[in-house]
């Protein structure tokens, strides 16, 4: 019988930043409650059931082609998994309405971690979703956020989004993402080019990788420079961007789904790291706390990123900000920083010190522990 449960409609573990986030947040929860139940998505080689000490990991493996049906089926499945623990569950930590609804029915305290809002993000991948459908999804978000004992958000921009959906402001807590420090002597990846600019992450339209490719096309005279894209998705998913890169004649080295432990070495040996997020509703209205930026800073690599409120929160003065969606401006910023390697190194060092001083995962976990303290005290 468990006292704590963590539910996420997300595959875990995976190469995505969300999995890194789940890893640390769930670890804090389970350390505190002497284990618990982790309900996540399975698939691939992942086992449907695991027991790791006091932690029981159950994975939803049903094949349901329709995403909405799949989310609903996950919700029902999760309700079933939680049912045997109803009498002992003290706290449920969730990431989305489909995890929150079954958790609410247990009567346990609810911590809703709002890293993103499906009513804002889903239309990017599912453009045929009608406004009336998104309104229904928003209604569920509102119900869950209003009922939650605490709402954890990684960025101030998301604070606005969740309070706009009815979350009580005194129950909303800021827990920025973080990154673990990278050792100075981390070995260079064997296939790394001599000089490279790096992009790490997924390839959804809001990431602005197309803007980066167009910017890189303007750096064609820098024949010593390669763009390394460490994509968290498969080559098939990267196909449209690979085609764009070929059409633009950009020198790109694609690295797909490399283990998270290896990403730090790629970041640490890069000349620059780029986070070219676009100025769309996902980044402006919803908000995020990009792990790629945190990890680049922790690796001591200078970051060039879009000038958006969510990036300013993370990067502050410890990186170079450029207007979003402007390939020419991005190319200019990259060129200038590469011309001044000492300034570039100094920027990276400052960023590393900033992360070490207050934004490692250890710090994030301590902030989350404070939230649990408050929830328990109520």
């Amino acid at each position: 019988m468990h006292r704590a449960a963590y539910l996420a409609f997300d595959r875990f573990p995976s190469a995505k930043g969300s999995a890194v986030h789940i890893r640390h947040m769930a670890a804090e929860l389970f350390d505190r409650y002497g284990g618990g139940l982790l309900c996540v998505l399975g698939g691939g080689e992942l086992p449907a059931y695991q027991r790791e000490g006091g932690v029981e990991i159950v994975r939803f493996t049903d094949v349901v082609p329709n995403l909405l049906d799949r989310a609903e089926a996950f919700s029902r499945w999760a309700a079933d998994r939680l049912a045997p623990h109803r009498d002992t569950l003290e706290i449920c930590h969730v990431r989305d309405p489909w995890g929150a609804l079954p958790a609410l029915s247990t009567g346990a305290r609810l911590v809703y971690e709002a890293n993103g809002l499906p009513s804002i993000e889903l239309p990017y991948a599912w453009p045929l979703a009608a406004p009336s459908t998104l309104a229904k999804i928003r209604e569920r978000e509102e119900r869950c956020l209003q009922e939650a004992d605490a709402v954890v958000v990684p960025s101030r921009v998301i604070v606005k989004a969740v309070t706009g959906r009815g979350a009580a402001p005194d129950r909303v807590h800021l827990v920025p993402n973080g990154a673990d420090p990278v050792p100075a002597d981390v070995p260079r990846p064997p296939t790394a080019p001599d000089r490279y600019v790096i992009y790490v992450g997924a390839l959804q339209p809001w990431q602005g990788v197309d803007v980066l490719l167009r910017a890189f096309a303007r750096l064609a005279d820098r024949t010593d420079l390669t763009l390394v894209v460490c994509s968290s998705v498969s080559p098939a998913r990267a196909r449209p961007l690979r085609r764009l890169g070929e059409r633009l004649g950009v020198r790109i080295q694609w690295e797909h789904q490399i283990p998270h432990a290896d990403v730090a070495a790629w970041l640490a040996h890069a000349d620059l790291s780029v986070a070219p997020l676009t100025a769309g509703p996902r980044n402006l209205d919803q908000g995020c706390s990009p792990i790629k930026v945190w990890e680049s800073m922790a690796a001591g690599t200078a970051v060039v990123a879009s000038d958006l409120p969510v990036i300013r929160e993370v990067l502050g003065d410890h990186g170079r900000l450029v207007p979003p969606d402007r390939p020419a401006e991005l190319a200019r910023a990259i060129r200038v920083l590469l011309e001044y390697p000492d300034a570039c190194r100094e920027l990276g060092e400052r960023a590393r010190r900033h992360v070490e001083a207050g934004f490692t995962w250890k710090h994030a976990r301590a902030r989350l522990a404070d939230v649990y303290d408050r929830v328990e005290a109520h």
Binding site: G44, A73, A79, R95, E121, L128, A129, A236
Partner: protein, 112 residues
């Protein structure tokens, strides 16, 4: 020595690798003493056995029971059948923005 073939780990997964003492009668994989579950099975098969008899019947019962519970909770009998065919159509596999994207089973609702 036959190594235990049960998957272990929280974030970084691997095979257990300890010396196996039995084979799971359901799936045949080698299991060490630490991972031997009820009935001499591997943990995954033991967990599956604790679940339901007929999957379709169980799914229907689960759905009914769950909707019933939730509807009571919210005092709204229709709440849990809120999504209709029109809503669902936009989330069929063929309706995604990038057809190429469908092959790696990326399920997440949000990215962060």
């Amino acid at each position: 020595m036959t190594p235990c073939a049960v998957t272990t780990g929280f974030f970084t997964l691997g095979k257990c690798g300890q010396m196996a003492v039995a084979g799971c009668p359901a799936c045949g994989r080698a299991v060490c003493a630490d991972h031997l579950a009820d009935g001499g099975m591997c943990p995954e098969c033991a967990a599956a056995r604790r679940q339901f008899g007929h999957p379709a019947a169980a799914a229907a019962a689960r759905r009914r029971a769950y909707r019933h519970r939730q509807a009571q909770y919210y005092g709204d009998a229709g709440y849990y059948s809120g999504f209709d065919d029109y809503d669902r159509a936009a989330f069929e596999p063929g309706a995604a923005a990038h057809q190429d994207y469908l092959d790696d089973g990326d399920d997440a609702l949000v990215d962060s």
